[in-house]
Amino acid sequence: MFNPKSRILVVDDMMAMRKLVGKALLELGFTDVTVAADGALGWEAFAAASPKIDLVISDWNMPVSTGIDLLKRIRGDGRFKTTPFILLTAESEKSQVVTALAAGVSGYVVKPFNVDSLRQIIEKVGAETSAA
């Protein structure tokens, strides 16, 4: 389960969305939020973080390196196989959900989202991570 001190990495190429997610996380009580503008920068921030990142919330479609690229890179590193990873995206077609699940996503929030839908998925992913 996450707590207000949990370290969260938000990855989105749109500054507006990074602001919106950051604002929503603040409303939910999370204060330690790092942001990155694509999957490659997200990996740099993730790998360099100390203490380690507790939760990644990432967009799917981004230039340079996508959210799925980032997820695969994180899952490909033995140290981070269980790091909670939530995709926040406007893509919700069945084939895409299957792709995300196959890559090891922990949760999925479809845009448009609000604070409540983000809270629900964070709580669900947190509970599942604790139970694992």
């Binding site: 749109m14 602001k19 989202f113």
Partner: protein, 294 residues
Amino acid sequence: MTLAKISTGRKTPMQPISVIEDGKTLLIKLPAELDGEFIEQMITESKAWLLRPVALLVFDFKDVQELKLAAYRPFVILSRLAKQGDKHIKSIGLSHRLELQIKSDGVLGSFNPFSPADLAKERAGVTAKPTSTAIDVALINPFVEATVSTLQIQCQTPSTPGRPTLLKVEDKEYNPSIGILGIISLSTAKFHGSIALAFPEKVYLKIYENMFGEKHDSISSDLQDAAAEILNIIYGTAKTQLNQTPGFDLQPAIPMVLAGEKLKIHQKTREKIIVLPFESAAGPFQMEIALDSK
């Protein structure tokens, strides 16, 4: 035609959910009050409805006067499950007020309002030949619904769609006031074109304020990518719905944003432009969809 009543579900003293199957359709007549007990009962009973060998589930709202937000839940759930099982949900008898309500709350797609005449045609197996007009309608509705829900949920700005207008390129002499414009290219096997979302400056600044709680006097470069994100969400939401329909295969696309004075939309189309006006709590804005058949 023999009608077989398969369930009268509801316990006394509540009015029962009447479910009638006629071979092609399951007609579910809703009681006047859709309260918490009804919602739970509907969620439970709807599992059995989805197992019936029918392609169409029709909800009759004739007696329903009020639709609280909590009552959306079973319809949204059922609509998703129905799609997975290749079944369709339609609603008849919705009052104009309730139809406007579900439109503005962004859940129109879960109810699919239908006129009794259209329902009779569908039950009789009358299907329209696909025409460019059918493509227009099939294309427009998901974009309208996606726009309303995105503005409502992501921007805290309720909006309602106005009447769409079809313009020929040579007729396009109107000059709407535009402060910021987002554009995405559309391309499928059947058509290509583009979709543009245009806001007057004051309207966009108010929407931005609703989203972030920040007041600004002009659209600086820092404010522009919110317009791209709004269009991105609208496109992604509509694309998900459209790609469930054969013939549409919209691909992910990246929006482009322009801001400044004296902006005009020049859609590269040989055929037609659909203008969708919206009225919102922040003021009017519009979407334009330009289409060329391949």
